[in-house]
């Protein structure tokens, strides 16, 4: 089957999008959560079950503990307390664990073992998924139901000292707080003293209900010198003395008030043998959890082997202990020893509340919940419980009651365990199977791309894709059968949930067929390449020109960028990579222009010839431009006529100066928006502009940029769309003035600020109009197939329509980015690409690089928080999902989209090279899909990295989105190149 290389590339990218979608779906499992958003105080707690009647005990049980102190020691590993180190350095804690009134456990943390997700797990009882980060875009505030929120709603007074992550997660929840920063890892003394210094006076006061202390010092020591350093011992002794201080003070307070209090000592995560954390080794996930209270019975516990529980169990236990409703998304179960000393009725009541909450969560998340063994056990336990309460209320004190109660208790505990387990397996793991299938699809597409690269680069527009024969071959059916068998095997054997298995059989079969078909195509392409190898070698020897500097830079730069994605800092600071590459590109281009200008006349005559010829055929171009577009002002025509004389002298200078001009533009843009992580806090020009004191300057700059945009765009448009463009850009300014960001010079600033709906819709009308005109021209060029100029004009009109839309969506301080982007496009195409006769592939890669650089110039980064959501609300009254999403995505990816549309226009305006556009499409698809494919493999191997959630996952989403946009762009490329095809 013969396929144009453009169509081939577009379909390949489309398939790759499917692969990436499957991968992402497996990488970010949907979290288990309750559908109802938390609204504290609205719902009533479930009453106690009773057979045949309704219970009189409908309120929540009263709190077990008067005061709760949570002492969270960062990176406290279980053996620091329960092992030999604990005996040596923490004598008081060891005494409490062995002989005091306490319960001790080893709490297992789920990866990623990093502080923030762990705090979330401790306080919500749920396993936080990455999807949560996207859901509460822009705000680190914890929106899920959690113990702290419930406690605040119940009017508890909470005090917090320690890691400021808590203050970000729970702003305004604490009546008193002091945050310490975890930024300076080398400090491990001051950071803890800042917490301890408040302790004496707070313990003396006693006007609080919950006190939370988060000590960071131990974690810092671990990062500096590992778990075996002598510093650890000192720190543990310090923690032990603090613990003793808190405990004695609590005991003396208890003697006054006669109500018990609870002291919780726990770690958020452990520490590996090298002192770091984030992954899932045993040392990193095992943390001690010690509950100390005078309400507990003193009993000698087995210190060597504390019971293993989940970290998420603490939330439910704390909620019960404080007399609060259990957080809705909690998957943990109550630590039973805590309530063991209570009367039987209360014990059952607590267990019922916990089981009911878990079963509700199960009902909302699992469709076939009725078949779940835990749910069946719960129903049974509830019935028995009802009977027990009935008997109890009939004052039937006997051994039978006790026996039945114990039976109910055991039933409840079993149900809790099963429910908690089946809920936490829903979220806890990466869905490796889906990830693998997605990766395989992506890698197969990439292989296919790489295999067909030599064909396309040898100036072959047509590509012979062996599609039909492999699909009907025996091999295809064999592979398909094997894959289906594997699929069935994996789906029936795996315990955790899996996305591909939950798909209907037909869809899963489709995916399998896709995988095997791709494999067959790759194999046959490989075989043919080996067969043709000799032929290709002969042809490759023939040109023998080697790589030019620009080509080498483009190749090495692309490879270097792809490799840099494996380091978290390079992902955070990716804008630096692009700025650096673009600057280097400019320098290399300037070297190229120098050589073609100076050296050319001595040793390389053909270069000189090129430049000469480039200049020469620029002339008719400009001449025809102004002639055929009927430029209204007559002065312009005169200027163009006089141009030939000027051409000889000024042209050289323009060619020589243009790379430097581009370099200067890039440097100016760079200082406009500081982005990334290290530079984000630095003052930049956009902050200066957006502050309210500089409104006048902002207005001036925005107006100037709009004028520049108009000047640069109008020259290629037909008169009608030129007028539309002018009105549209005026509308953009009116819109910004209406919402009160910029000022009209003739209007004082005491104006009513509206939402600017009318103005924005006014601009939308023009955008649609221009796009429509452009499409009409394109279709005309395709159908009538006579006028070559019409097509170029049509493409330029589409480009200008997109520019107008971008001008509307970008914030006013970013309008210079748009203006500079158009300026650089004009300079590059006029003075560099046309005179130097660059190859279509090189031009494509350069467009891609500039597109990427402009993505970051605009202030974007690889952090979700920098997405400008306000673009989604331009001209919309209310939030409408589809247009808002489209506008936000376009507003974010303005750079790549505009550069790609310029690429289409530029290449199709070069009349002489018919296949350029489809080759460009191929190159664009290739260069867009290589980073994604490599990144997927890297992310899979780095999935237990410390920064997987904060750095790599957002980047994965960005890459996925970028690939989707690349696919759309490639489709457009192919459509336009097909037009050409029918014409030729």
């Amino acid at each position: 089957m013969r396929l144009g290389s453009g169509a081939f590339a577009a379909s390949c990218v489309a398939i790759e999008v499917i692969g990436v979608a499957i991968f992402i779906r497996g990488f970010f499992p949907a979290p288990v959560r309750s559908a109802a958003r938390p609204e504290p105080g609205v719902e009533t707690p479930a009453p106690e079950p009773i057979a045949g009647a309704s219970s009189n005990w409908t309120k929540l049980p009263s709190p077990l503990f008067n005061k709760v102190v949570i002492m969270l020691i960062d990176a406290l590993r279980d053996d620091f307390v329960f092992g030999s180190k604990g005996v040596k350095y923490m004598p008081y804690t060891t005494y409490l664990v062995e002989k005091g009134a306490s319960h001790s456990f080893v709490a297992e943390a789920k990866p990623p073992t990093v502080t923030m997700p762990r705090i979330k797990a401790l306080m919500t009882g749920s396993v936080p998924g990455f999807v949560d980060v996207i859901r509460n875009l822009n705000s680190p505030v914890l929106l899920e139901d959690n113990v702290i929120r419930q406690a605040k709603a119940a009017g508890k007074r909470m005090i917090f000292y320690g890691d400021e992550t808590w203050l970000k997660l729970f702003p305004k929840h604490f009546v008193e707080y002091d945050g310490t920063t975890s930024f300076f890892v080398s400090d491990y003394i001051e950071v803890d003293n800042n917490v301890t210094r408040h302790l004496d006076k707070v313990l003396k006061r006693g006007d609080w209900d919950v006190l939370i202390l988060h000590y960071l010092g131990l974690d810092h020591i671990g990062h500096i010198s590992g778990p075996n350093s002598p510093l650890i011992g000192h720190k543990l002794s310090e923690m032990d003395s603090i613990l003793m201080k808190i405990h004695t003070s609590l005991l003396s307070k208890e003697r006054e008030t006669l109500s018990p209090s609870l002291l919780v000592v726990c770690g958020d995560h452990g520490m590996s043998e090298t002192g770091s954390h984030g992954a899932s080794s045993t040392e990193e996930v095992s943390t001690p959890l010690i509950l100390v209270s005078s309400a507990f019975e003193r009993k000698p516990g087995d210190i060597r082997h504390p019971k293993h529980v989940q970290q998420t169990d603490l939330a439910a236990t704390l909620a019960i202990g404080l007399g609060l409703p259990i957080p809705k998304d909690s998957v943990g179960h109550l630590l039973f020893p805590v309530i063991e000393g209570k009367p039987m009725r209360e014990q059952l009541r607590f267990l019922h509340l916990n089981t009911l909450q878990l079963s509700k969560l199960l009902q909302e998340n699992v469709p076939s919940y009725e078949k779940d063994p835990g749910f069946e056990q719960f129903k049974m336990a509830e019935r028995l419980h009802g009977n027990w309460v009935k008997l109890h209320l009939e004052e039937n004190h006997s051994d039978i009651l006790l026996g039945l109660g114990t039976k109910v208790l055991r039933q409840y505990l079993g149900a809790l365990k099963t429910l908690s387990l089946s809920l936490s397996t829903q979220v806890a793991h990466y869905d490796i199977y889906s990830m693998a299938v997605g990766t395989i699809v992506v890698l197969e597409v990439l292989t296919l791309f790489l295999l067909s690269t030599p064909h396309v680069l040898c100036r072959k527009a047509e590509l012979d894709v062996p599609l039909l024969s492999p699909v009907f071959s025996l091999l295809f059916y064999l592979i398909f059968l094997v894959l289906s068998a594997i699929h069935v095997l994996v789906c029936t054997s795996s315990e955790s949930s899996c996305y591909l298995c939950s798909l209907p059989w037909l869809a899963a079969g489709g995916v399998m067929a896709l995988v095997s078909a791709l494999l067959c195509v790759v194999l046959s392409a490989l075989i043919r390449m080996v067969v043709d190898g000799t032929l290709l070698k002969k042809r490759a020897a023939h040109p023998g020109s080697g790589w030019s500097e620009v080509g080498l830079l483009l190749l090495l730069g692309t490879v270097g960028h792809v490799l840099s994605l494996g380091a978290s800092s390079f992902v955070e600071e990716e804008h630096q990579t692009w700025y650096f590459l673009v600057s280097t590109l400019c320098l290399v281009l300037s070297q190229e222009t120098c050589r073609s200008c100076f050296v050319g006349d001595e040793c390389e005559p053909q270069h000189r010839f090129h430049v000469k010829q480039g200049c020469v055929d620029m002339l008719p171009g400009t001449w025809q431009d102004s002639a055929s577009y009927n430029t209204p002002e007559p002065g312009r025509t005169g200027k163009t006529v006089s141009l030939p004389e000027a051409q000889g002298s000024c042209k050289w200078w323009a060619v020589l100066a243009s790379p430097w001009l581009v370099l200067i533009c890039c440097r100016l843009l760079r200082s406009l928006n500081q982005t990334g992580v290290q530079g984000a806090h630095r003052p930049d020009f956009s902050h200066w502009l957006t502050s309210s004191d500089h409104k006048v300057q902002l207005s001036g700059l925005a107006a100037l940029s709009l004028i520049v945009i108009f000047m640069l765009v109008q020259k290629g448009c037909s008169p009608v769309s030129k007028a539309a463009l002018a009105l549209g850009l005026l509308g953009v300014f009116c819109y910004r003035a209406a919402i009160g960001i910029v000022l009209f010079p003739w209007q004082p600033d005491n104006k009513v600020i509206s939402k600017g709906i009318i103005e924005a819709r006014f601009v939308y009308v023009f955008v649609l109009g221009i796009l429509f005109t452009g499409t009409k021209d394109l279709l005309k060029a395709q159908v009538i197939a006579t006028d070559y100029r019409t097509k170029t004009i049509g493409l330029w009109e589409i480009h200008s329509g997109l520019v107008l839309l971008a001008a509307l969506l970008l914030r006013p301080h970013n309008l210079p980015v748009l203006a500079f982007s158009l300026l650089i496009q004009t300079i590059m195409s006029k003075f560099i690409w046309k005179p130097l006769r660059s190859d279509a592939a090189e031009i494509t890669v350069m467009h891609y690089w500039f597109g990427q650089a402009f993505f970051y110039f605009q202030g974007n980064s690889n952090n979700i928080a920098t997405i400008d959501i306000s673009a989604g609300f331009v001209g919309l009254d209310t939030y409408m999902e589809v247009p808002a999403t489209f506008l936000t995505v376009f507003g974010t990816y303005v750079g790549p989209v505009l550069w790609a549309s310029h690429l289409v226009h530029f290449l199709s305006s070069e009349a002489n090279n018919g296949s350029a556009l489809s080759r460009a499409c191929f190159c664009y698809a290739l260069i867009g899909s290589v980073p994604v494919a490599t990144y997927i493999v890297m992310v899979t191997s780095l999935r237990y990295h410390l920064f997987i959630w904060s750095v790599f996952s957002p980047k994965l989403l960005y890459e996925g989105m970028h690939l989707l946009i690349t696919a759309a762009l490639c489709a457009v490329f192919t459509a336009t190149s097909h037009t050409r095809h029918t014409r030729a």
């Binding site: 800092s569 955070e572 600071e573 650096f580 100076f598 040793c603 390389e604 370099l663 440097r667 200082s671």
Partner: protein, 219 residues
């Protein structure tokens, strides 16, 4: 081209390498707490002076390009003045390029400028010594197939490797290792130095290796 030429080239290049090492060790004899990282600017100055000195010395002693015609004193003086001006111009030019690459414009000006000085020491000074203030010759050497002697070949290699070293030196800056040498412009100056040393060492070897293939147009 004889093997003795290559040997001479090797020795002179090793002398240049030695001058770089000298600039690291000599100042610590006179200055307290001198180290490359902490008193970086001092090191930059000493390194620049010692490399320039050794280059001038080599130029005067070895004289790879024996100028045939004798020239007057005034001509010599104007030549020297021209060289100085060229050197300064190249420093400013490189400084501008660094700023265009994203170096801070106002803060750390001295650091940026000294980086420009050291990079032009590694690149412009050898050019000036070997080719003189003659732009045409420079263009010839740095265009394809324009080299006419092993000295020029070595010059080409060292200059390009210094630039590449400085370029590669910028990569560690965004990494979050928080090492003292990641601060602008230390990693770049170190990169340039390593590139220069590597170029000096490798160019005689490379020429020796390819001595059969290399043919120079004799002037």
């Amino acid at each position: 081209m004889k093997d003795t030429d290559i040997k001479r080239l090797l020795y002179s290049n090793l002398l240049c390498v030695f001058s770089v090492f000298l600039s690291v060790f000599i100042p610590s004899l006179f200055l307290d707490n001198f180290s490359i990282l902490e008193t970086h600017l001092t090191w930059l100055c000493t390194c620049s002076t010692s490399v320039t000195g050794v280059n001038l010395l080599l130029h005067l002693v070895v004289k790879p390009n024996v100028s045939s015609r004798r020239s007057s004193l005034s001509h010599k003086v104007s030549r020297v003045l021209k060289c100085c001006i060229y050197f300064l111009l190249s420093c400013f030019f490189l400084h501008i390029i660094f700023v265009l690459y994203g170096a801070p414009l106002i803060e750390l000006v001295l650091e940026t400028f000294l980086f420009a000085v050291i990079l032009s020491t590694f690149t412009t000074v050898p050019c000036l010594c070997l080719l003189g203030p003659n732009l045409k010759a420079w263009l010839r050497v740095f265009s394809r197939n324009g080299v006419t002697s092993i000295w020029e070949n070595s010059l080409q290699i060292t200059t390009i490797s210094s630039f590449i070293g400085a370029w590669l030196g910028a990569f560690p800056i965004p990494l979050d290792w928080e090492r003292p040498w990641q601060v602008w412009p230390i990693s770049c100056t170190l990169g340039a130095t390593f590139g220069y040393v590597a170029g000096l060492v490798s160019s005689p070897l490379w020429i020796y290796w390819n001595r059969k293939q290399l043919t120079y147009k004799s002037n």
